[in-house]
């Protein structure tokens, strides 16, 4: 990529808006996913009996099972949240940056 083009894009405030908003959002979501997953893994490593608790007196189902399923669902939800915002807001910003070059 030519240096003039790079400079032109870098001087566009929309570019900085896109980069900072998107990277902050992406890192926040990544950290949420990592915290959920590693919290789960740490409980397994240090206190597996926590996940062995029953969901109710009458049930044989341990809380580990709904928690595990919820983690799977949360992974899907987080990707959905990201795609929803990226398809709207971030793609609009990118479009404006590209139009600014014409």
């Amino acid at each position: 990529m030519q240096q003039e083009l790079v400079d032109k894009i870098k001087n566009n405030p929309k570019y900085h808006e896109l980069v900072s908003k998107r990277s902050r959002f992406a890192w926040i979501l990544s950290i949420i996913m990592l915290v959920i997953y590693y919290a789960f893994i740490m409980v397994i490593a240090f206190s597996p009996q926590t996940l062995a608790m029953k969901i109710s007196e009458a049930s044989v189902i341990t809380i580990g099972i709904p928690i595990g399923i919820l983690i799977i669902i949360s992974a899907f939800m987080l990707t959905g949240i990201y795609v929803w915002r990226a398809n709207g807001e971030f793609d609009n910003l990118t479009k404006q940056i590209k139009e600014g070059l014409k």
Partner: protein
């Protein structure tokens, strides 16, 4: 078994043509099964359809871009299905349901680890990869670095991952066919090898993608039917399913909570890192991001893929528990010693028989075989691309190569990889397939991912730092696996492992990142100045996608 009959009936209608073959196979048999005609007919249908697609794709595969990326015109949904097709291997279908069957809850821990890498791939690398890359992940890793060392390192990381993964798939194929189709092990491995060579050499990425899409749809619907069949048996009550599983299982209540899979903090974190970063370093998966038109389609791919894969893992959990109840004490599926006929990896398949009889077993067997075919095709294509695009075109010919020549090399590489896969598949017949995949993930996480990630994110990365650090990560992962319990004790027969954990990723990934960081910051060479100066332009393209389409910008 009246319930079985209803489901069986449903399938008999679906496959009325083959119903006549639904005799009583699998009854009290001990070793190899009699020829399963239903399974073979359904498998042949799949093969005929996919070869038809390969013929169609071959007409449309003219340029290198067609061959490596299907021309870049795959949609987000198609690619999402193809990614799940790539990722839901026989090892996850048979291996994870076997793990649930054997250890209950531990199987779910494994599935979750396999899944949570996906959101992180989406947030941090999917769009950047699409904006920077062309055909292989090494394009991205070496974007602003010296081509020869980084391409070589990435190509070896890719090949190591591909070959390990291929062995696992081949072994799975052989075992499966032996038990289900009544064909000898070696013949199954040869059939898989030949078919994948045909798909990839003639149809390239387009045929591979459609084989994966079809397989993903078949596997998802097949697994849904098994899970629904199992749940039907328990009147759709999870409470009932778990209660009966606890009563019948030798593990008792222990199957409902974390057990021996990860029992210390080191293993827990290390396994998590291997699965998460490993997914983000698998060459056949990363390559899929170059088949879509732009960053938007790339991100949609991951969204769909995460949904399909997550759903699939929930199904394998139900299938594993269903198998505990329905087959673990049913002499029809057991050997004289009380083990599962054909080993634990057959749990899902025996369950399909218990639920839907021989026809359904035939269908699921064909699906499992198709699964293996789809995954090995994607792997072979990724491996062949590493050889032709990275090693041949960029390293040996330094970019001075015509397209026809490069495609010829990739086709030769496909055939060679196919032969290697067949040979090693036969050599490694008795290995545990889940462990082989684990090693592939460790290498992907320790060699491929750190270099790729830092090349996109860290402006101070230099060629020397990336090469030394990536190489250290690769070596550490391999050495720790060799001196660990799975090779040092289980294969080499030593009494005690030198490295006590089965999961080296925590150490090897750390070694890679620290190595890359250290050797980059102390690098004051001329090349290092160039590497760092090029970050700005790379980052603009990476963030906006400007320059990503059309002429090559490097």
């Amino acid at each position: 078994m009246s319930r079985n009959f209803i489901l069986w009936g449903a399938f008999a209608t679906l496959f009325a043509a083959t119903a006549v073959f639904a005799g009583g196979a699998l009854e009290g048999a001990i070793e190899k099964q009699p020829l399963n005609i239903a399974a073979i007919v359904m498998f042949l249908l799949f093969v005929a359809a996919t070869l038809g697609i390969t013929y169609w794709a071959a007409q449309r595969t003219k340029t290198a871009k067609d061959f490596y990326t299907a021309g870049g015109g795959i949609t987000g949904l198609q690619n999402g299905l193809a990614i799940s097709g790539d990722y839901m291997s026989a090892a996850s279908f048979l291996g994870i349901s076997a793990l649930v069957y054997k250890s209950g809850y531990d199987g779910l821990i494994y599935s979750i680890g396999f899944l949570v890498g996906w959101p992180v791939i989406l947030f941090l690398i999917a769009e950047r990869l699409r904006n920077l890359g062309k055909y292989t992940f090494a394009d991205v890793a070496s974007y602003r670095l010296a081509q020869t060392p980084i391409r070589t390192l990435s190509a070896f990381g890719a090949l190591a991952t591909v070959i390990l993964y291929l062995i696992a798939q081949m072994v799975g194929a052989g075992q499966l066919i032996q038990l289900l189709f009544g064909l000898p092990y070696w013949m199954a491995v040869v059939i898989v090898g030949i078919l994948m060579i045909l798909y990839v050499t003639f149809g390239g990425m387009l045929a591979t993608t459609w084989v994966q899409i079809i397989k993903a749809v078949l596997l998802l619907s097949g697994a849904t039917f098994i899970a629904l069949g199992a749940l039907y048996y328990f009147d759709f009550s999870f409470e009932k399913m778990f209660t009966e599983a606890i009563n019948i299982s030798d593990g008792g209540e222990a199957i409902m909570s974390p057990g021996g899979l990860v029992n210390n903090w080191f293993d827990a974190i290390s396994l998590g890192i291997a699965l998460m970063f490993g997914t983000a370093g698998l060459p056949h998966i990363l390559m899929r991001f170059f088949t879509v038109a732009d960053a938007k389609e790339a991100r949609k791919s991951v969204f769909y893929a995460t949904g399909f894969i997550g759903y699939f893992y929930i199904l394998t959990f139900i299938i594993g528990f269903g198998a505990i109840v329905l087959i673990s004490k049913n002499p029809q599926y057991l050997t004289a010693e009380g083990g599962l006929l054909g080993g634990n990896n057959m749990a899902a398949l025996h369950l399909s028989h218990a639920i839907g009889g021989n026809i359904f077993l035939g269908f699921i067997s064909a699906v499992a075989f198709a699964t293996i075919l789809a995954v090995v095709s994607g792997l072979t294509l990724a491996g062949a691309s590493a050889v032709s695009h990275d090693l041949y075109a960029s390293v040996i010919k330094r970019g001075q190569v015509n397209e026809a020549q490069e495609m010829k090399i990739s086709k030769i590489a496909t055939v060679v990889l196919g032969i290697i896969a067949i040979t090693l598949g036969i050599v490694f017949e008795k290995q545990n397939i889940a462990f082989m995949v684990g090693l592939a993930f460790a290498i992907a996480a320790s060699a491929n991912f750190p270099v790729l990630f830092l090349s996109m994110y860290w402006s101070k990365l230099t060629t020397r730092g990336a090469f030394i650090g990536g190489f250290l990560g690769l070596t550490t992962a391999i050495v720790l696996v060799i001196i660990g319990p799975t090779v040092w004790v289980a294969i080499l027969g030593n009494a005690e492992p030198i490295f006590g954990s089965k999961y080296p990723a925590l150490i090897s990934v750390t070694v890679a990142f620290v190595g890359i960081w250290f050797f980059s910051i102390i690098d004051n060479s001329q090349r290092a100045q160039t590497d760092r100066a090029a970050f700005e332009a790379q980052n603009v393209r990476c963030q906006t996608g400007i320059g990503a389409e059309g002429a090559v910008m490097h």
